[in-house]
């Protein structure tokens, strides 16, 4: 098994917007190793979310090649891609995207149920993950009865329950206050450092990025920085200046 969970080569993505080609990102090549937390930063429209979606197999690249956990996305049909997502990738969204009519435990078991795992097996697995995110006492609550931070923790538990190779988080702290945001960031770091799971986080928040093992900065659809994030205030200020232009 390759040590890289993502291998991208010359990836480009072009959108058609009212007849005009809009480049989301161009000619990106990168590899992401297992058990890392990688942050992707960049200004709005830099292509970071699109890159995340391409890594997750929910958006095909226009050109180039991407392998997710060894599988070439171009070789997979919709069914195979769906199964790849179901078994290898966990998603965490800015707006949580929990099913409002399902309880906490039902939301977390959903990917397992979809995979045909029995309730007898899926519920303990879900409880384990909910315990990990500190919500095992809210199993029967509906999402509307939880705070934003709690909802995001449920979303992380849902992503974790399938024991994925890759967790993709799109602005996971964007809808949270700083305290809750820090909790979520810490949780994602723990996930990345406690097993074989890789966490890729798209964020605007330098404090989140600074917790990552690796930082990729996108500007105008191209990688401007790829390395370890600095931790001192001067470094962060320079990065912010670079990103804000």
């Amino acid at each position: 098994m390759s040590n890289d969970v993502i291998q991208a080569c010359n990836l480009s993505k072009v959108f058609q917007l009212e007849g005009t080609d809009v480049n989301a990102f161009t000619d990106i090549s990168l590899s992401i190793a297992r058990s890392q937390m990688v942050a992707i930063m960049g200004p709005s429209g830099s292509g970071k979310s699109t890159l995340l979606h391409v890594m997750g197999g929910i958006e095909p690249p226009t050109s180039g090649e991407i392998r997710i956990d060894g599988a070439n996305v171009a070789d997979l049909d919709d069914q195979a891609l769906t199964l790849l997502r179901r078994r290898k990738i966990g998603f965490v969204f800015q707006s949580f995207n929990l099913v409002p009519t399902l309880s906490v435990i039902e939301n977390v078991t959903l990917p397992l149920i979809l995979d045909g795992v029995s309730a007898r097996e899926s519920e303990p697995r879900a409880i384990l993950q909910l315990d990990r995110v500190g919500l095992s006492h809210r199993l029967r609550h509906l999402p509307s009865q939880l705070s934003g931070g709690e909802q995001q923790r449920v979303a992380i538990a849902r992503a974790l329950v399938i024991n994925p190779s890759l967790i993709l988080a799109d602005e996971p702290t964007g809808n949270l206050d700083s305290v809750r945001g820090r909790e979520i960031t810490r949780l994602l770091c723990d996930v990345a450092h406690s097993g074989l799971q890789t966490v890729v986080v798209v964020t605007h928040d330098i404090r989140v990025a600074s917790q990552a093992d690796r930082l990729i900065v996108l500007l105008d659809g191209r990688i401007r920085y790829d390395g370890r994030p600095g931790t001192d205030a001067e470094w962060m200020a320079a990065l912010k200046l670079e990103i804000d232009g």
Binding site: H53, G56, I58, E59, D78, Q79, T82, L83, R85, R86, R87, F91, F93, S95, F96, N97, L98, V99, P100, T101, L102, L110, P111, I113, L114, D115, G116, P143, S144, R158, I162
Partner: protein, 839 residues
């Protein structure tokens, strides 16, 4: 005021939602317009059929003793209100000869131009006789004689010592019901027929055509008072009598369908707006946050609804008119009208559509708008889902009970004659509406049962689909209500109509035991004017190989308490089961009673006389009256059910009955086609009419059973409305649940699983509606049978038609699932990323 551009963008940027909303309104309006148009069209056609069947000749004056009477002794009938015109007619039995061929039949004399103007016929060749000594022949008689226009034939009549020579000027072919009812074989001017019957200046009957608005009973009473015995006024029996029960039930069905189409349409439109407004709750909250008042939001919603309602109404009227035209064409096909009936656009239907569309749209948008405005905007924006409202099951149960009690009160009032029969229609509709109100209480148990079974095969799809249906309880209730209404109505009308046709079939099987029929002439529908068969012929028939027995049947005109009837006398001594279909009384001991002189009467006659089995009737034939005990009431469709049946020996001892006019011939088990062919040859040789059992069965079925085709049309129309409701609801489900579906796809639900989930939902929706719909349909069918026992005088028994139920349930569930295919595929094709980014 919220600018128009806001509303316009709402409609423009969500084209599918806009289209579905318009289509829902159009569908609702179209169903109302189509049903009203179809009712108007059906009534026009029923009237046309009645006319075709003989209702036009509303009355006839005849002599009680069947003798010819002088026309100049009659009063001037044109002076009576309601009389349109009169046509004197002379009928006489005749023998027709051409070369070596001979035929027997009735010669009819009249002003042929007037007489034939009301008949469905084709002039196969030549022309209608205009002068003396000219005749035209009925096609089958001409074929039998090998006669053609221009030939000279000879005709004779009983008591006339010589034959008269006439020239054939034309050959007539009667069509449709006229072919059944027209009994004459040869047509000639009035004076010629009267001379043939040795009664110049006289007539055997006077047809009295009534004006459309005339009351036949009133005119009959007035004319009867001016007549001297033996002249009487009769309402001639016609084939219409045979179709009347089915027409009655069709009318009931149409009335119920009209009322329920409105209810179904209201449900469809309300359902659509409920979904549409709920889907936009965040947008509504947002514009309220930026400063719109609830009045402004409401006004904007009403404005959009009005625009959509107007477009939907216009489209619906067009669809409705086109749909009803298609139905009318279908019915033309069924009845085989030669001149296609042009059904004009019915103004009432259009006006109903114009009023219905906008009003129902505004009512439909009112409640969800009120709810949307009541919610706190910030809470809506923060919440991911629509607020969960507990469905008021207990309150709906209370309303259902009130409705049920009201409908029972209406039935009680109708039964006690406090209210007219038509009130029952309202009662029947209320029973179904009560069923609709009770329906939500059944959703959870039935859905759970279905989930239990299907969940074994597809646990994921079943679990999620089941969950969605219950989470959207209100919408599920509305959707199944539409299907419940149409399925209940269809099954009730279908079950009742099939009960009637089954009744006819049972009567045919029980009473028509002969394999072949031989008769000397075509009888009238009331079986009068049938020429007797010579007893010597019976011996010859018996000699034909394969003939087992002969049942000589005689018909005599009779009267009971002033009601004209026909006595059918048959030889009941044989070992075969009695050829009567009892609806009251016992078969045990019946033969002995009838051979001892007791009679049985048709249920229609019993109903009109108000007699029951075990009672008595005062039967008068040829001036002789006897009081006879009634051994039973029988199902009888011959002569419109106005029939008395007696054993021929017993009848001959009491009354001057006619000799046998029909030989019912039973063949041995070993009889072959050759027996039928020999009987045909025999009938040709003696100028008799030959009919096989199948011929007669087809004849009756063409009259009554053919009407069931109309039933299938109503059922198909109902299923289409139900299918539309499912397509509409599930497509709206896809739109509303786009984000949820996107999420499911992101976390690993395959397209096939999404599609199966929707198909499961459709299956459950169909079953939730159709199973209770079938039960309420059967209850309604029973109520129709009980409530209209007075209208459907044949006393049709209620019976559940299980094949109909099974077929309808299977077709309904299949249609439900098929209706879901497109929405399901659309859901499966959603791009996960686009979907989760949608509000």
């Amino acid at each position: 005021m919220i600018p128009w551009s806001f509303s316009w963008n709402n409609l423009r940027l969500r084209p599918l939602r806009t289209l579905l909303t318009v289509l829902s309104i159009a569908g609702g309006v179209a169903s109302v317009v189509a049903v009203l148009q179809a009712i108007a069209a059906t009534r026009v056609q029923l009237d046309a059929m009645q006319e075709m069947l003989g209702e036009r000749e509303s009355l006839e004056i005849v002599a009680n003793d069947k003798s010819a009477f002088p026309l100049n002794e009659l009063p001037d009938l044109s002076q009576f209100t309601g009389v349109q015109k009169t046509i004197p007619i002379f009928r006489v039995f005749t023998k027709i000869l051409l070369g070596n061929e001979e035929a027997r039949g009735i010669a009819l004399g009249a002003n042929l131009e007037e007489y034939l103007s009301g008949k469905e016929f084709t002039l196969v060749s030549g022309q209608v006789p205009r002068t003396a000594n000219e005749v035209c022949l009925e096609e089958s008689v001409a074929e039998h004689l090998h006669a053609k226009a221009g030939d000279e034939i000879r005709i004779g009549a009983r008591g006339l010592p010589w034959l008269l020579t006439k020239q054939v000027t034309g050959i007539l072919k009667f069509e449709k019901m006229t072919a059944v009812e027209e009994t004459a074989s040869i047509f000639m001017p009035m004076a010629d027929a009267a001379r043939l019957g040795k009664a110049p200046g006289k007539a055997t009957s006077l047809q009295v055509l009534l004006k459309p608005e005339a009351d036949a009973d009133e005119v009959s009473d007035v004319i009867q008072r001016t007549l001297q015995p033996p002249l009487v006024v009769n309402e001639p029996a016609s084939a219409a009598d045979m179709t009347r029960p089915t027409e009655a039930i069709i009318n009931i069905g149409l009335n119920v369908a009209a009322l329920l189409s409105v209810v179904a349409a209201v449900f469809i439109v309300i359902n659509t707006f409920q979904i549409s407004v709920t889907e936009r709750r965040k947008q509504t909250a947002l514009i309220r946050i930026v400063g719109a008042t609830t009045d402004q939001v409401g006004a904007s919603m009403y404005r959009e609804a009005f625009v959509l309602g107007s477009i939907g109404t216009v489209a619906g009227i067009i669809f409705g008119v086109l749909g009803s035209a298609a139905i009318s064409r279908g019915m033309d096909g069924i009845y085989g009208f030669d001149r296609p009936l042009t059904i004009p656009i019915h103004p009432l239907a259009i006006v109903a559509g114009l009023i219905f569309g906008p009003i129902v749209t505004l009512i439909a948008v009112w409640y969800p708008t009120r709810l949307a405005c009541e919610q706190r905007p910030l809470a809506v924006l923060k919440s991911a889902s629509a607020p969960h409202r507990e469905f008021p099951v207990r309150r709906t149960m209370l309303w259902g009970s009130i409705l049920l009690a009201t409908s029972l009160a209406l039935f009680a009032c109708t039964a006690r004659k406090i209210m007219p029969d038509v009130t029952s229609i309202l009662g029947i509709s209320l029973v179904q509406i009560a069923g609709v109100v009770f329906l939500p209480g059944l959703i959870r148990p039935i859905a759970a049962a279905l989930y239990f079974f299907i969940g074994r095969a597809y646990p994921v799809e079943a679990q999620l689909g089941h969950r969605q249906l219950l989470d959207n309880f209100g919408r599920t209730s509305l959707t199944i209500s539409v299907m419940f209404i149409v399925s209940g109505t269809s099954i009730s009308v279908g079950n009742t109509t099939l009960a009637i046709t089954h009744d006819v079939q049972s009567w045919l099987d029980r009473t028509l035991t002969a394999n072949y029929l031989l008769r000397a002439s075509k009888p009238r529908v009331d079986m009068s004017e049938a020429e007797p068969l010579s007893p010597e012929l019976a011996a010859e028939v018996r000699a034909i190989p394969g003939v087992e027995s002969i049942d000589p049947v005689a018909f005599s005109l009779a009267s009971i308490d002033g009601i004209s009837a026909t006595l059918m006398s048959r030889d009941l001594t044989g070992p075969e089961p009695l050829p009567v279909d009892l609806v009251e009384g016992q078969y045990s001991g019946l033969r002995a009673k009838m051979m001892a002189g007791e009679a049985v009467v048709g249920s229609v006659l019993a109903h009109r006389l108000g007699v029951q089995s075990g009672g008595e009737i005062r039967l008068e034939i040829g001036g002789i009256t006897h009081v006879l005990p009634l051994a039973g009431i029988v199902r009888e469709y011959t002569a419109g059910g106005l029939m008395v049946i007696m054993d021929s020996t017993a009848a001959a001892e009491l009354f001057p009955v006619q000799p046998a006019q029909i030989f019912g011939i039973k063949a041995t088990a070993s009889a072959t086609i050759a027996t039928g062919e020999q009987l045909q040859q025999f009938s040709r040789k003696h100028g008799l009419i030959y009919q096989s059992y199948n011929d007669l069965k087809e004849l009756v079925q063409s009259l009554i059973l053919g009407l069931t085709d109309r039933l299938w049309m109503i059922l198909i129309l109902a299923l289409v409305i139900a299918g539309f409701a499912i397509v509409n609801t599930l497509t709206m489900n896809v739109i509303e649940q786009t984000r949820y579906l996107g999420l499911l796809r992101v976390v690993g639900m395959t397209r096939a699983q999404v599609i199966r989930m929707f198909l499961f939902q459709a299956f459950v929706l169909g079953s939730l509606a159709l199973l209770p719909g079938a039960i309420i349909g059967v209850v309604m069918a029973w109520l129709i049978t009980v409530s209209y026992a007075g209208v459907i005088e044949h006393g049709v028994k209620f019976a559940i038609n299980f094949p109909l139920l099974g077929l309808y349930l299977a077709a309904g569930v299949l249609l439900s699932v098929l209706s879901a295919v497109l929405p399901a595929i659309r859901a499966g094709r959603l791009k996960p990323l686009d979907a989760i980014h949608q509000e």
